[in-house]
Symmetry: C2
Subunit: 382 residues, 2 copies
């Protein structure tokens, strides 16, 4: 199987990730932050080490501002619904995933307004459009770092400058970029950073992260046992306990930590350059095939390792099915949980076939995909 579905979840993971998960389960599988015995303390240290590694990775000052969640969606819901109240206004973009758009749309019911900035047909966002959309009651700008369909990289730094100037919170959905693109919450003026643990960060499924900048009031949703202030029937407000009720996914967090440590060891620049070179090669070769329509920037320096295509007017699911069943190539067709993005690039009816590369993909994988697409196109002529 040639796995080109890394935008959904990276696969495989580094060996150290498997080892960390297994080691945690087998050798210190106690409940962290609850009991005080050796195994529980060891589990607690595992969690805290994870926070420290993540803090360093994103240039976050205080590791206690990092909240472990079950996935990026969990983190995004907490951030969006925790920040926005009746009467507030939020700005987002037409390239967002449903994990941003659905929470924002649902908040209309309680009187939270939204403006969805239209991106161009390559998924490119103009920061000035964000500025123009700001109103008196704008409290939050929620924007993806890179589209999960076209890979289009958003101008986070420019948006960060606008957000800071206007004193509006900036929430970045880094599900498609964390672990591959450098993210510095200070330099980029990111107030809230949400991401998955199981994509570019190379951790296991069941992990996600929300960073909340100091002194930002985010209402918690869940209440429960935190191992702290147990005598009280109200949720403690200290971080991270406020947002982390119940037993955490200790093995998952250990695996995520190992994934980030792997990235640090390899070097994020090396990883990005590798993915860029695969993307560049893929796009160049795709351009040579007549029947292929390529979406997005078509420029590996302006997009993540995600390339959406169609073959003429063929159904995207049918094409992905052929790639899988005949050529043993895993891609993802359809709407990718981002309907407005497909409307933006003009593929709402057809969907696209999405190829997404990871660090463990090789040039041969890309060649295999290109050959398969050529064969499919030739077959269509017959």
């Amino acid at each position: 199987m040639t796995y080109l579905d890394n935008a959904a979840t990276t696969y495989p993971k580094p060996e150290v990730v498997y080892e960390a998960v297994l080691n945690t389960m087998k050798n210190h599988g106690a409940n962290p932050g609850r009991s005080g015995h050796k195994l529980a303390l060891e589990a607690g240290r595992t969690i805290f080490k994870g926070r420290e590694v993540i803090a360093k990775f994103f240039n976050i000052e205080d590791p206690m501002q990092i909240i472990f969640t079950s996935n990026a969606t969990d983190a995004l819901n907490l951030a969006i619904k925790g920040i926005l109240k009746k009467g507030d206004h939020v700005i987002t973009t037409s390239m967002e995933h449903n994990s941003v758009l659905r929470p924002i749309k649902s908040l209309e019911k309680i009187g939270v307004e939204n403006t969805i900035i239209q991106c161009n047909h390559q998924g490119i966002l103009s920061p000035e459009d964000i500025r123009k959309a700001i109103k008196e009651n704008t409290k939050l700008i929620a924007v993806t770092h890179a589209s999960n369909i076209t890979g289009t990289i958003m101008p986070i730094e420019e948006i960060g400058i606008i957000a800071r100037e206007k004193k509006i919170f900036l929430l970045v959905d880094a599900a498609q970029t964390a672990g591959v693109y450098d993210i510095d919450v200070k330099r980029m003026n990111i107030d809230l950073l949400a991401t998955a643990g199981h994509k570019g960060l190379l951790g296991p499924q069941g992990t996600g992260i929300l960073y909340i900048k100091e002194d930002i009031e985010v209402m918690h949703y869940k209440e429960g046992g935190t191992g702290s202030k147990s005598q009280e029937l109200t949720q403690p407000l200290m971080l991270p306990d406020r947002y982390e009720s119940g037993t955490p996914n200790t093995p998952g967090i250990a695996g995520l930590t190992a994934g980030i440590e792997f990235i640090l060891q390899e070097g994020i620049d090396k990883i990005r350059r590798h993915e860029e070179s695969l993307t560049e090669y893929f796009i160049e070769e795709l351009k040579k095939i007549d029947k292929i329509k390529i979406y997005g920037p078509q420029d590996a320096t302006k997009q993540g390792a995600v390339v959406s295509i169609n073959i003429e007017e063929e159904d995207s699911s049918e094409m992905a099915y052929i790639l899988d069943s005949v050529f043993d190539i895993a891609t993802r067709p359809g709407l990718h949980c981002a309907p407005m993005a497909h409307k933006t690039i003009g593929t709402f009816e057809q969907g696209t076939v999405r190829f997404s590369f990871g660090y463990f993909n090789t040039k041969e994988d890309v060649e295999k995909a290109i050959e398969a697409l050529k064969t499919i196109c030739e077959e269509l002529d017959q």
Copy 2:
């Protein structure tokens, strides 16, 4: 290390659980329910198999009514906050964990009333007290199946009869019983069953379950990508998608499934009898030690494999520290995230030292604990 903290999380897990987690990560670590390629389908089958095994285990008719959550707290918050609206009344007990009490107390702010039934000093609940507390607007009874402090088993079947008669929903927190005590949602008239995956069910941390009976309206909290109805900006209302936005914890669910299959293979009766015999032996031996105060029913047939004690007026944390550091025995001291339960049994100031046994504990483990307690008591005399 003699691990007697199984009420926090069971440890170790059966080998098959480790294998299932690792196998899923290594061999079909794709994103279930999203793409349609072989690896993604295999991951999807893993999740569905989990639902089927769980459904069978709790006598649930439709596996799609089973929601995977990140822990029991997650499941309890979803159930409690998804059911109760302004003007409703909920009945619960003084033996509940903060994962039940804190959500219920927080709902007071939006006008949800509550009645907390006082249990006796052994943690025993009278079902008639529940009946007396029912009002016109009572919508939910939320009760633990067994206390996490005294192990006291609650009369769920009697409460179920009352709930059915009065047309009130019954939510059971089975975090301390699932996997050890037989739970049949039909026979027990349970409308909502919340439990952890990582305790008696022997799965990995990061897993939890909420069963929602057909046709019960539970408002979802999270919205996002579900891999279904991707064209829509509103959350799909079909189950389980409605409550399972974002990438699930596929390896964790595979591990949980393996844990339940292990229980089915061993036989839940055998597991319960083993835990009962350890508890019985422990209680009998404890009674012979003068300085020990035992809380709860002190009857292995009326409590789970959880025994809370104190040594005279000694600080519970200090005693647990000695058990850990001198005798290499892991217990959990303090309030165990259940302050009202400690008030109920009269240990709110002192806390208790909690011993909790699992299927992998042996009689030797119990003997070791008894010997350690005897030694501590003798030392106190000197």
